[in-house]
Subunit: 333 residues, 2 copies
């Protein structure tokens, strides 16, 4: 691999996305992408006593599923990258506790899935035969931790997003027949002073634009190079901001840009306000929907840019603004 | 680089640890290693209004310090790996908010420093000229978050450890004259069923042994190869357990093994019970003390194994046991 421009790495022997798997919750199973997910749960608890244990079970079973689908023996997976939104990333730690695979914990908030894939691709080109990447989020555990316990019945403002319950996982292999990871553009932390924890789209959109524009400058590409440019979870409000911000930078992305948080729910029928969010938003939409479009050649060139808000509930209480980050990965067949 | 055995990566053109920096709190500044730290604060708040903001300032200034000491321009740092113990790793995110460097957030609990260095070394051999790695912890923010607010004046049991206030940071470069990172052995999650959140040494020691023994098997080395084998923060209790467990595996490490948590405080004079802990324990002891011993050739071969407990306060309340992890890095001049 080699560095390209300021923040991009180009892979000379591009690693293959060998297989993907995804499990989602009941609400996601009633949404427009339901048929693309491997499994849609009917119960937020999935038989567990707590939401946190349910989330761990979801990521654990998604990992088991991607390993089974890939036909790769666990012993042939050289390392794993995983992370989630829970304090100290316990969903991933407990979900991977019995995996017996060397484990790198990562935290990029909702950008975690692409962060994992970026590092997985670096390992696959440099020393690893197979790398496992996974992430999860859960609406109930996230609301409890970041906002209010659901039992309080708090109203959610129109700018709020609905954390996706689910998990996405992929295996990246040194050898294979694609889809290939050709480039990664790793984001910097961008903080434009947004401090409304119920408007994550606005907080993260500037980071998305920073990484998007850097990717174009580093690679010499323009928006039209890609069949689709997909952000992780900017939602409806963040998507509009992103289109406007891109225009101010001289890029028209309106025709081939969309957002996983916009795609995963039916806004009107499902009452999800500004759309989906969470690590599993990008994780499940990519692993379920986009990966299948790549395999069937309906999409040939995809730029996936996962976005994250690097805050916690206490930082907002202490008057801090919300730093955003966005990591891009270019995938082609 | 190439994979060696089960979990080890051997670097063919070993990256250099170009420079290290460390800032610690007042208690660490009264301990036996005080003279090795770049700066010892006299105030836990360092002029900030909250412990969390103080911790962010500590990691931020430590990063500024290592960049200044290295003589590398920020624009020539290709990426950064950082993480900490606070929920959603906010110390690192806020500390690096203005850094303008592509950012990979990592979470390995107290193993974060070596996890960062491991990934930094992979990047340095594969595409990056310079990689920044950093971590932090703070006694007051950690007690508040993981146990009880200090204002309650709770008694701490004898098996508890004292979270180090401070930060350690390093720059890993593709080219340089050492000390060199020659191998990394990435740990698996190991959970032996310990559920006492006040006995982290016991929870993490099995992970330390798993990684230590794997490192020896993968490399064909024995304990005597190294001048020192150093665990991150097993403390007094964990250190004794580790020596005993190593013996059951056929390895005598008693003569050249020590622990950063044992080294950083004076157990009797400083009332720190089982010793130091936290991301900054390993981070500051390595960056302050060990790095200088390597530079002055008093140590020539070091095996640093940082240990982490992958839990949060809620997981213990929900009856979960405490999974441990340990990442090893072999450093030679």
């Amino acid at each position: 691999m080699e560095k390209l421009g300021k923040q991009t790495v180009k892979f000379n022997t591009p690693p293959t996305l060998l297989e993907c798997a995804t499990i989602v919750g009941p609400k996601e199973g009633q949404g427009p992408l339901a048929k693309y997910f491997d499994q849609c749960l009917t119960d937020e608890f999935w038989g567990e006593k707590t939401w946190e244990k349910a989330e761990s079970k979801i990521i654990k079973e998604t990992i088991n599923s991607v390993i089974n689908k890939s036909g790769i023996a666990t012993a042939d997976i050289d390392c794993c990258f995983a992370g989630d939104l829970l304090n100290q990333c316990i969903s991933s730690s407990f979900g991977l506790r019995d995996s017996n695979v060397p484990f790198f914990g990562v935290f990029g908030a909702c950008s975690t899935f692409v962060e994992s894939m970026s590092l997985g691709a670096i390992c696959a080109e440099s020393f690893a035969s197979n790398v496992l990447c996974a992430t999860s989020s859960h609406f109930c555990s996230a609301e409890k931790q970041f906002r209010f316990p659901l039992e309080l019945g708090n109203q959610r403002p129109p700018s709020s997003q609905w954390t996706v319950t689910g998990s996405g996982a992929t295996i990246i292999s040194k050898q294979g027949f694609g889809p290939y990871i050709t480039h990664i553009t790793t984001g910097k932390i961008v903080d434009k002073g947004i401090n409304d924890a119920n408007n994550m789209g606005a907080a993260m959109a500037p980071a998305f634009i920073d990484t998007l524009v850097t990717h174009f400058l580093d690679t010499g590409r323009t928006p039209s190079y890609y069949d689709i440019i997909l952000s992780g979870d900017l939602g409806y409000i963040g998507k509009d901001i992103a289109i406007d911000l891109a225009k101010t930078q001289g890029y028209n992305i309106k025709s081939n840009y969309n957002d996983c948080g916009v795609l995963i729910f039916d806004k009107d029928a499902q009452d999800t306000h500004s759309g989906g969010s969470g690590c599993a938003c990008c994780g499940s939409v990519f692993s379920g929907y986009i990966f299948k479009q790549l395999k069937s050649k309906k999409l040939k060139k995809v730029l996936l840019i996962a976005t994250g808000a690097l805050m916690n509930s206490m930082s907002v209480q202490q008057g801090e603004t919300i730093p955003g980050i966005a990591h891009a990965i270019s995938i082609e067949i």
